[in-house]
Symmetry: C2
């Protein structure tokens, strides 16, 4: 078992990573000193695969465990699902000492911890992420929330979990395309802060894709450590935390424009990383080699690097301006200087961005 | 102008109190360094009385001011109103640097700042409370939220405002019964922490009821100072903040049982204070004099001290157990030792409580 600490004073918590640790969740949970009532929030597929094991592990340590099942998919990441969870928690009579256990991918984690943050103004939330994407990204750092008709992730809270419990064995039941979407975020960590991780990903593609346990634990641990350090430094994204959005400024716009059903998040981020690297290069901030390195690792893993058909650069631009990362009418880009280092750039000329997107 | 600081590190803020200061809100708001977009959230009555003055003050200092009007009353303190506000904020294209201005009583303040806490995971919120109750209590301290069918204030966040702006002149348009409801909370502050404030309220009932400016500024400032100190010490009600609930354990149950339309919050708290004092006395924690003093000041102000007709002690007990202040099946009472000092008591025998409620 590997451990990473997110250091946030009295809201600090542990990320625990290992193979087969799902059955040991109860042993860790008792150490948190909460009340005995818990509610697992999950979707039908994940709950069917792992719900009983998690419940047994918790019940075995004396917890009184209920469940709330939300239909699968990003279209259910909305206030209706949150209302449903809150109503169920009230019916189960959870109190201020009770616990929500988010068992699933990023959507479940975001909704469940959002609901936990609102229930009686906040009860404990345990993240048990079951996709590589949520294990390396969304389960850590306390961003919770849902989508609104008028924009993705527009409604939410900053609310840290009390524990992140990552069993890598659950990746065995994940579709390969979902694994790849998680790999895109690992590559991102390499670009923004860790040349060694980038090299590891480049040199061990075969092992990573075969889900070799040591390699997977290594890349999850490194990714979580980078995210933990950044979040400890800037919990509410007033500064450095923005660098986690490398690839996401363009990536989010692509997800929006393709209706969230064509590209997985990690796929959109892959394309975003390639184009944001090109933008950095076009602005003279980095050499051709950086662009080539990013494009080549993305393609080595079978992730997309080119613009999807039928997406106009102008519409990407318009969509980016509506993103909540745009402040005061100004876009913010995270641009690589070299592999392992990025900087935040504002006020880039819009025509220039469109020209790059057209490239 | 009197100022009180709520000391919470980088989330500290000022409470400003004075007569006729509504027109100076813009001057203070510019000092906060926010973006220019603002949305006033109010109800038709309050917006009709003061909306234009607030808007003019803000627009005069360069802010771009929109508005969202919510129907008046506790029954609209629900997630539907929050959803409506969030949708309007998105339509107005507020960004992370924008500001919500809550102009109204406790309901508006709770809903508007709740919405602000969720919009893009939290934007600035200014509290401009227009009832005595909200001026001395709900606008300070960062408790936001709405009711759920299954319980009052069950859904919400801890989210501090960036400024509390209290113009006492607005109390001139407040119904007398509403003024009295606010006075109940001022009496509460006296009982829990300030014998001098209690004495002032006892000796100056006439002036207070006539809304004498000096007296009103004095009691609001004292109340806010006590609340600010307690909140600075214990923002999330892990300990001492619970003493603010003196009178509320029984009071909330009475509000629930009478359907929120018979008793104002302050009236329910008045009755709650009287009975919680009786409970304290019955447990031998305080003398007869304390009970007499509390009952007599409550009655001097024309506030209710006796149980409303048709409310069974057993049903009060059941309702209290459903309150979110009940943890692990145990009720918590705030009981006076003497005027100016209370302590927190758990695990009081239920039959004993029912006996006192029957008294």
């Amino acid at each position: 078992m590997e451990r990473v600490t997110v250091d946030l004073g009295d809201r600090s918590y542990e990320i625990v990573i290992g193979p087969g640790i799902l059955d040991a969740l109860g042993d860790e949970a008792v150490k948190l000193g909460t009340g005995e009532k818990m509610a697992i929030v999950s979707n039908p597929k994940v709950f069917g695969l792992y719900g009983e094991r998690v419940r047994r592990s918790l019940a075995g340590r004396g917890f009184n465990v209920g469940e709330v099942i939300i239909p699968d998919g990003e279209i259910h990441k909305n206030m209706d699902s949150v209302d449903h969870i809150l109503t169920e928690l009230l019916k189960m009579k959870l109190d201020r000492s009770s616990v929500v256990v988010a068992l699933g991918g990023g959507v479940i984690g975001d909704i469940a911890c959002f609901a936990a943050s609102l229930y009686m103004r906040g009860i404990a939330c345990l993240q048990v992420p079951t996709t590589l994407l949520s294990q390396v990204d969304s389960s850590v750092g306390g961003k919770t929330g849902v989508n609104h008709e008028l924009g993705k992730n527009m409604i939410g809270t900053f609310y840290q979990p009390s524990l992140v419990w990552i069993d890598i064995d659950v990746l065995q039941t994940l579709e390969r395309r979902e694994v790849l979407a998680g790999i895109a975020e690992v590559i991102k960590y390499g670009v923004i802060r860790d040349q060694d991780l980038f090299s590891f990903m480049k040199d061990n593609a075969q092992k990573v894709l075969e889900l070799d346990p040591d390699s997977i634990v290594h890349i999850i641990k490194r990714s979580c450590k980078i995210k933990a350090d950044i979040v400890s430094e800037d919990e509410r994204e007033a500064g450095v935390r923005a660098i986690l959005n490398f690839g996401h400024t363009i990536g989010h716009a692509l997800e929006t424009l393709t209706g969230y059903d064509k590209l997985l998040h990690g796929e959109a981020v892959s394309i975003g990383m390639c184009y944001e690297a090109i933008l950095s290069n076009a602005l003279g901030k980095t050499g051709d080699e950086t662009v080539r390195e990013i494009k080549s690792i993305v393609e080595d893993y079978g992730l997309p690097s080119g613009m999807p058909e039928g997406i106009a650069p102008g519409s990407i631009m318009d969509t980016m301006m509506l993103d909540k990362k745009a402040v005061g009418g100004s876009l913010r880009f995270i641009l690589p200087d070299r592999i392992g280092s990025v900087s935040i750039e504002k006020d880039i000329d819009k025509d220039y961005i469109i020209k790059v997107l057209r490239a």
